[in-house]
Amino acid sequence: MKKLLLATSITGLLATSSLAGGGGDIFRSSLVVDQLEYQLSNEKATIWNVYAYAGYDINKVYIYSEGEKPKDESAKSENQLVYSRAISPFWDLQTGIGYDKNIESHQTWGLIGVQGLAPYFFESRATLLFGEDGNIGLRAEAEYDALLTQKLILSPSIALSAYRKDNEKMGIGSGFSNIALGTRLRYEFKREVAPYIGVEWNKNLGNTNDISPLDEIYGVIGIKFWF
């Protein structure tokens, strides 16, 4: 947590320089709404997958939020606040806290993870989570951008999660818990704005599927934007 505080205070300092050299490592911040979509399923859920970050080349602070709000229920979400440090040309090491919430309950995690660009240009992120209750979780995701044209981009993705213990209130069971395979086709009107359509297969596995059965394929319609 000390690190986190330090990073937060670092990012608060704005770099300004009128010198010729130096000053290339500018402070920057960005909000990326990677997915904001409507699920064409029985749940008619609205889904979001959003992150924001601030910092410098090496040190950044990220906030992640991912969740869904079914039409007639309250929202459930997974949220993280992490300190992220570049440790190699393509990879960041991340550490921070996570907070999951659903209708019945909530859970806090400590987490450590990596984020970066895997070979073959897969944008990837894997996180190991340590719960208050002694549970350990693993969440991993990867996404690929296949350019059909310079603006029409097909983006297949995969997300996997697994846990050491059951937590029925949070709807998770031990072992592999969920797999989501999706593909989205977006059109970048400009780099920052891209509406899309897509299809996703979302399945709970093993004990998780016993606790809350899920095996659905549905279409999505949404928009990606950032600034």
Partner: protein, 611 residues
């Protein structure tokens, strides 16, 4: 043929800004004046005002930062042997500076904030004064922040004390530049957020299927494999493109067209200056041979060519002899073919030649990555038929070997570098050996790897006779560095006392740039010894061309013939290659030394201390 980006053609007309006559005062010390046509100022005392003007270059009104309200700034004509005095007044509300690019002068006059002086504060006037000890075509620009991108630049022409060895009847400065309505700080932020933001020529799925059709799945896939495993792209030509840039010739866009008039029978000297922030240009005048007579201000042995690549901050003087009653296009396409600057060389202002087509988008080859070509038989990446490749180039390119990628990934699939000598280069080296037969001791410099460096050239080669990506085998005679021979013999110049190696490094994914893996803010200054003859070798570990500029001293480029080393101030280091030059360390003090691409410069930078 690709469709032409809307920015290539421009809706704006400069005249609109000329109609606005009343200066708008927005604060006590910042006024926005009207744009004035670029003129030449001659003499030995000059008054320059750095000020904002309203412009309309793209069809949208915008604000430029200029010298004396001109874009490009006024051309300063000096005389070799004079002492010039230049009073530069800062009428902006931020610090400014003027650097005299390529001019040999005392360190305090060099105009680099933080190294030569403190910069010029708003409202203040700084007086530069120095003797002019050279002649030729040069330029000046702001060395503060990103002002150069916003218009603070202009040409310098220095008339020689003795008669010019090349005769001509008329001359024109041709200043090439890139203009964006976007704030440069916004362009830079976007590059930091997404390094490929401005690249709309990226690989598509269709490109892959085309290759499959052409070569079969296995070969197409195995070619892709290496790039993919290294997380690199062969479409990474220019960081900033015509998506945001409008390319200018003497401040005129491709719709308003700069016009260079001639009278029948005249020999015309064209003084090309690349004053762009980020753009390399490939320049030709279809239908006309150009005779290159000077490079970076210094006379070279005349060489007749069809086309030349001009890196950011370089200058080339060419002499052309247009036919009677003809009109020609002066065509400067950006290296990534996302647009062009256009001018007319014509006997009649009303007759403008047809605009040539842009060439195909260049694609980096394994040679640009430093790959061994023997493992890539039949490769056809840049649209060049290998069979058609002339033997000279095949030899040069054939010697390229592997580039290693960062992140601890070794290319197991890569062939070992060949151990045979590169014959075309050996010929050059042999000459030097005969003369000097001495080993030059190398001084090791601090180096780092890690986050800064996403690739390393393992066995980079000299590529002096390689015109560069996009210009190989295009059927035209393209200037290469191997063609540059000083007019003045350099036979008796000293052999280098020692050598340093500077690796040009970067991380394209994160948009970070550095030298020897260390960014400027973390680097120790380079220490040169006064009086020494230093050899500097660049090894380019990146996939980009870097125009490297050493302030205060000449860079004598090793083009193969020690008897005629051309003097340059800016040297292009091609991707995955190696290039060497020699410096007479004859100027005490602190100097700047950097890549001249504006958005690389902040970090691919060193302070040099000569003591």
């Amino acid at each position: 043929m690709q469709t032409i980006n809307r920015r290539t053609f421009v809706k704006g007309v400069i005249a609109t800004s000329l109609l606005v006559n009343t200066p708008i005062t927005i604060s006590a010390n910042t006024k926005i004046s009207t744009r004035i046509k670029t003129t030449e100022i001659k003499g030995n005392t000059f008054n320059l005002s750095i000020e904002k003007v309203s412009v309309n270059i793209t069809g949208n009104p915008s604000i430029a930062k200029t010298v004396n309200g001109m874009l490009s700034g006024p051309t300063l004509r000096w005389k070799e042997g004079d002492t010039v005095t230049i009073n530069v007044t800062n009428n902006l509300n931020e610090d400014t500076s003027i650097h005299w690019h390529g001019i040999i002068l005392p360190p305090a006059m060099d105009g680099v904030p933080g190294i030569s002086f403190d910069g010029i504060k708003p409202g203040e006037t700084f007086t530069y004064t120095f003797p002019v000890v050279q002649s030729g075509t040069y330029w000046y620009h702001s060395h503060s922040g990103f002002q150069e991108q916003q218009g603070v630049y202009g040409a310098i022409v220095i008339d020689p004390k003795v008669k010019d060895p090349y005769e001509y009847d008329r001359e024109y400065v041709i200043s090439l530049s890139d203009w964006s309505d976007e704030k440069p700080s916004s362009v830079y932020r976007k590059l930091k957020l997404s390094a490929s933001y401005y690249n709309f020529k990226q690989r598509t799925v269709g490109d892959f299927f085309d290759e499959v059709k052409e070569k079969g799945f296995f070969e197409a896939f195995s070619e892709r494999k290496m790039w993919n495993e290294m997380k690199m792209t062969d479409r990474d030509i220019s960081d900033v493109s015509g998506y945001t840039y409008t390319y200018l010739m003497n401040g005129e866009n491709p719709a308003t067209i700069f016009k260079a008039l001639f009278k029948n029978g005249e020999k015309i000297r064209l003084r090309f200056i690349n004053s762009a922030a980020m753009t390399f240009f490939d320049v030709r005048i279809p239908g006309l041979k150009m005779t290159v007579v000077a490079a970076d201000g210094n006379n070279v042995q005349a060489v007749s060519i069809d086309e030349f690549r001009i890196g950011v901050a370089e200058t080339y003087d060419v002499i052309v002899e247009p036919e009677e009653n003809k009109s020609y296009a002066i065509f400067a396409q950006s290296i990534d073919r996302s647009g062009y600057a256009l001018g007319a060389l014509t006997f009649d202002e009303k007759i403008i030649a047809q605009t040539p087509q842009m060439d195909a988008f260049p694609i980096l080859t394994h040679a640009d990555m430093g790959m061994n070509m023997s493992g890539m038989a039949g490769m056809n990446h840049s649209g060049n038929d290998m069979k058609a490749m002339n033997s000279e180039e095949a030899k040069t390119m054939g010697k390229q070997s592997a580039m290693k990628c960062g992140g601890g990934m070794d290319m197991s699939s890569m062939k070992k570098p060949e151990t045979t000598m590169d014959h075309s280069m050996m010929g050059h080296d042999m000459k030097a050996m005969n003369n000097q037969n001495k080993v030059i001791p190398i001084t090791k410099l601090e180096e780092d790897s890690g986050v800064q460096t996403d690739a390393v050239a393992m066995d980079p080669q000299y590529r002096l006779n390689d015109p560069g990506v996009g210009l190989r085998n295009n059927g035209r005679k393209v200037l290469t560095y191997a063609d540059l021979k000083s007019l003045r013999p350099t036979t008796h110049d000293r052999y280098p006392d020692r050598e340093i190696i500077l690796k040009l490094t970067g991380n394209m994914e994160r948009y970070m740039w550095s030298i020897n893996g260390i960014a400027y803010k973390d680097a120790k200054p380079l220490e040169f010894k006064y009086g020494e003859r230093l050899r500097i070798t660049y090894i380019n570990d990146t996939m980009m061309n870097h125009p490297m500029h050493l302030h205060g001293m000449w860079s004598d480029l090793e083009t193969g013939d020690d008897n005629y080393l051309p003097k340059k101030h800016t040297i292009i280091s091609q991707p995955g290659s190696k290039i060497s030059f020699r410096v007479n360390v004859d100027a005490k003090g602190s100097w700047a030394y950097h890549c001249h691409l504006l958005y690389h410069m902040t970090d691919m930078f060193r302070k040099v201390i000569v003591s």
